[in-house]
Symmetry: D2
Subunit: 350 residues, 4 copies
């Protein structure tokens, strides 16, 4: 035991022997297992809506909503090929629902958000209540809630509707915590009038006797009209955060926390000419542009963005936003996970 530096051959022999017993030497991989900082495999990437729109629409002739269950084109990060992931924890996809179609009811432990990109009049039903979707609306279907989507027929005024689906699929795959069930019928029964949840919890008021016990927000549609008005009010003041412009996070009104336990959501406004400072955060983020033209630098890459484009930011990559015209960006990230586990880091570079 005097010479603890065994020759390489002895070590290799030792490694081979212990491998039989499902043992391996930490010291050969310590640096990889406990890296000095995040080592993202996912890369900065942008999906230009103008280049995808035809494909999204074509999916409507490739498969029906009913056969597909969810007719979605997954936005797959080029660094995570085959993983159906846009970042290491997040999933993104563009879902199309045509007039007269139904995306049948199911539930799963994955939390999902919908951010409406194009078209209006389709509905999402959650827990017996339907909400009509308009561009810019942020809608949630929390973990293990029955949910389905539908669209009126063309005769009833239905039009193709496209939204961005954001889910925590890769995270739940890592945790191996996925459960799912199909509802016995395509549509769940409607139990409450539209707007009921919002009337109960959306007005800075709440039912007297109801003790809220869930982990997700009791309101499930945050209409764009309201979010935009909040940004407008603050934009008029002219006071800007040098990194973010005017940025708000969506809130679960029953707790003041995030709407869902695994994904944070944000909406921000950048004035024409905004040149943001650089920041980086340990959560990974997906942006969906609502209004305006601008650009984003992520690490060494620069992307020009316009309405309906989607781009992804890997963890700990420096980010810098700029706007050519007044711009509104929606985004979602795995921030609540990192915050709950005491892992969130943020650096604002002056």
């Amino acid at each position: 035991m005097l010479d603890k530096t065994a020759p390489d051959a002895a070590r290799r022999d030792y490694y081979d022997r212990i491998a039989q017993k499902n043992l391996s030497p930490l010291w050969e991989s310590l640096h990889t297992l406990v890296p000095p900082q995040p080592q993202p495999q996912c890369v900065p990437a942008i999906w230009k809506y103008e280049k995808l729109r035809a494909d999204v629409m074509e999916s409507g002739s490739i498969i029906s909503a009913e056969e597909a269950v969810r007719r979605v084109l997954i936005l797959e990060n080029p660094g995570l090929k085959g993983q159906s992931a846009i970042t290491q924890t997040l999933y993104a996809g563009l879902q199309l629902i045509l007039p007269g179609e139904i995306a049948p009811s199911h539930r799963h432990t994955q939390s999902a958000l919908r951010f409406i990109v194009e078209g209006k009049g389709a509905y999402t039903a959650v827990n017996g209540e339907r909400t009509t979707m308009h561009p810019g609306d942020f809608i949630i279907t929390p973990s293990w809630t029955w949910h389905d989507h539908g669209n009126p027929t063309e005769a009833e005024g239905g039009e193709p509707v496209v939204w961005l689906d954001g889910l925590d699929i890769p995270l739940l795959r890592s945790l191996d915590a996925g459960f799912a069930e199909n509802y016995p019928e395509a549509s769940q029964p409607v139990m409450r009038p539209e707007g009921d949840s919002f009337a109960r919890y959306g007005y800075n008021m709440a039912p007297v006797r109801h003790t809220f016990s869930g982990t997700s927000s009791p309101i499930f549609n945050y209409p764009y009209e309201r979010s935009r008005e909040a940004l407008d009010q603050l934009a008029r003041r002219g006071e800007l955060d040098p990194w973010d412009g005017v940025k708000l996070r969506y809130v679960n009104p029953a707790t003041g926390g995030y709407p869902m336990p695994t994904m944070a959501t944000f909406m921000q406004w950048l004035p024409a000419g905004f040149q943001g400072k650089t920041y980086r955060t340990s959560d990974s983020t997906v942006f969906s542009v609502v209004e305006g033209q601008g650009s984003v630098r992520i690490g060494d890459e620069v992307f020009q963005f316009g309405p309906r484009d989607v781009f992804s930011v890997p963890p700990w990559k420096p980010v810098q936003l700029a706007a050519l015209e007044d711009a509104v960006l929606f985004s979602y990230s795995d921030r609540p996970v990192q915050a709950a586990l005491g892992l969130l880091r943020e650096e604002r570079i002056a």
Copy 2:
């Protein structure tokens, strides 16, 4: 658009085209991405200490603690080859420190627990305080705390000490939230006498003016002497849980929650002759046997266990414990993660 069931060839062509744009069809993988229940790749496995002990001791002549930084044999799940993981979220290893050695000081965002298996007198230092390790002690080195280990020389009475390291390495890899730093010296300076943290927080009392703000427990050694006494007290009553025997979880006394935000820890006592009922949980668990002989059925496998053996339980696999003689089991799992994210499920089968 009338026939939405496009022929396979048309679909394949479509898939190829959209793949160029980093798009893929959800409907081909939905069932895999949103599975009906957990699909663990990790398998039930046991590491018999008697079969490993010689290898652990031999590691002491293969590499020094200082060169290794941490001289640990990773317990690698046979279903997760090459991943340095004992379950999808958890890491386990057996660490050896010899008399006179130091495992140098560093810190990382990974949370770590130490469960002492063999030998005594070595110490773990955390945040300027050292604690002496005895078999059965449960010690934490929380996320981003400086920590090092050391052992007195043989002349000073040092003896080889082995402990089980439990970390959340695979979880943090999934989240890509790993940061790490080395301390400029091998040992951090000692700032407080041994037992200081425990005196402040361990007696169901707390400092008057200190507002605790961390996410991990302010006490970092939970001595076996105390945990065993608690089990003894409850064992004497003779009232047993049919699934668990007498089972307690370790607590962060500043919050009543788990000692660390990513790993729960438990100690349980089974009387001789105990035949537990079957349960399953969505968190995955690693057991370390402290005392007694018994057996465990995990899914379709049955393992006999004795002192110092380690076994792993994949998520959602049915588990059934039995004891031939009075037995004490320590265990850790990713329960706090699933609880914080609203994902924890448990089923007790009568």
Copy 3:
């Protein structure tokens, strides 16, 4: 010591002796000190606005707002004469501010709410922001926040404005926890545009980087327009609580809890013809009628109420509400205190 039942004279002599030492026998007062149920001294009472209005207006010629600091007529419970209290814990008063007047800036540990009864256009300033008052608005000036009130001149369109002040003055007197300070000038400087707080926190969104740490709501005006709309939405469904009609509590959007730590506030709607069932609660409540005619039975008393009337409900007195026409009631109580201390009781009698 055999006969422990000492004769009355011996007891009296003993009581006299120990009284010199500031001692007294519990057993002579136990039943009073630990009563079987609340023993309110305050009584059910109503203040009919039509009978008070002239007095309120006359106060404007009796004293100026500036000299009075706060020109308020206290609604003093007939059972609590001289105590400036409407219940054992709550204070209520009607405050008048005339065109061109200022009620000078001060702060105190007492929490205050304002419920606007008559007139509009006056403002309340809190922490550097002003909000314009309209009938039915619920406004808070939380503990230890600088606040002042003002009214434009008649030339600027100012009109007499009357509001109900609700404070926790008797509670803080019991706790002896009152601190107060005057601001060096009559009006605090305006630092933020009107609506700023509401824009930040009122839209089910919140600033990204702001960690809210106060005990009171960051929004300080809950406009009637919004509250009424919420009630309307729920009223349209036709589903009524048999005790409460449609009743919502105001919420601190940063926590989901009460807007202030000592007083809960509610707004409820009763349809014409509503005959409520009887309930009682251990908190005491003050009601202010916003719209409609109705009646309330409190214990053995029945009061007819109409717009702007105020009535008080002692703790644990049975209450029964009825409406002749569609009615809206605002109310406040000491519920958060009882809830925080684990004391709240409620009984709904079928």
Copy 4:
């Protein structure tokens, strides 16, 4: 309305008129209702145990425990005559139970603590579990828990036992939130062995499946042996707080908060020769001396204290502690109430 400064006579006439309508002018009492700082009616006071002991013992021949229900001499603050209060919110009394006696079972919404002053072997039963009382033990009987006390006969080794009762009686009187019930029998049935609650929650561990939901601590005896050991450990370090010496607060291990929602409890150690600096707090406090001789300055008064003496500190009075010999002080205050309501203030004067 031009001259708003009405002559005194006019004002008096106005006040008389509105008084008929249960109205009174705030401006005549504003300064009293909203005082610049606490205006305690209670005064600094000390009860020397040597001067009371004979009276306490004599109470045993004046009335039986059963007749008295609770044979207690109330320590009545000289500033609060007839109010059965030691401060504006707290009650204190010395309870005597003789060998063979039972203080019959009841429950009430008032929270109670017992701090054992003299004698040992008597028990307190709470929720079906008995705990044996020793000098220096801190025992709780939380709000609405059945509790009774008993003492073995002399033949069984019973001896007179005296303890300090601390309750929130004045607070609950202010809130008018008192409810009480007698148990149908003198002693409640024993359902669990002694030490059961402590074994479940006292060892920095907790039952796995039990979700604790109460507002009070699940352990109800904090033995002096343990508390003293914690102080000893910290005293040995020699690091003293210049105001408090070594001071710990008792903790509810299920939450990290106070053991009961209305009263905080503390134990502190002062070394011989300690000359504390001056502080003041907005909560009011009762001290019970456990060991040692010392003195306390409260406002302008100085008291010498020795073992078993009790003294009271009004809110916001400057306090300065000194010790002639090593001293241990137990204390309780209404701090959790002020903390929960956002009212707590503390000032440490250098």
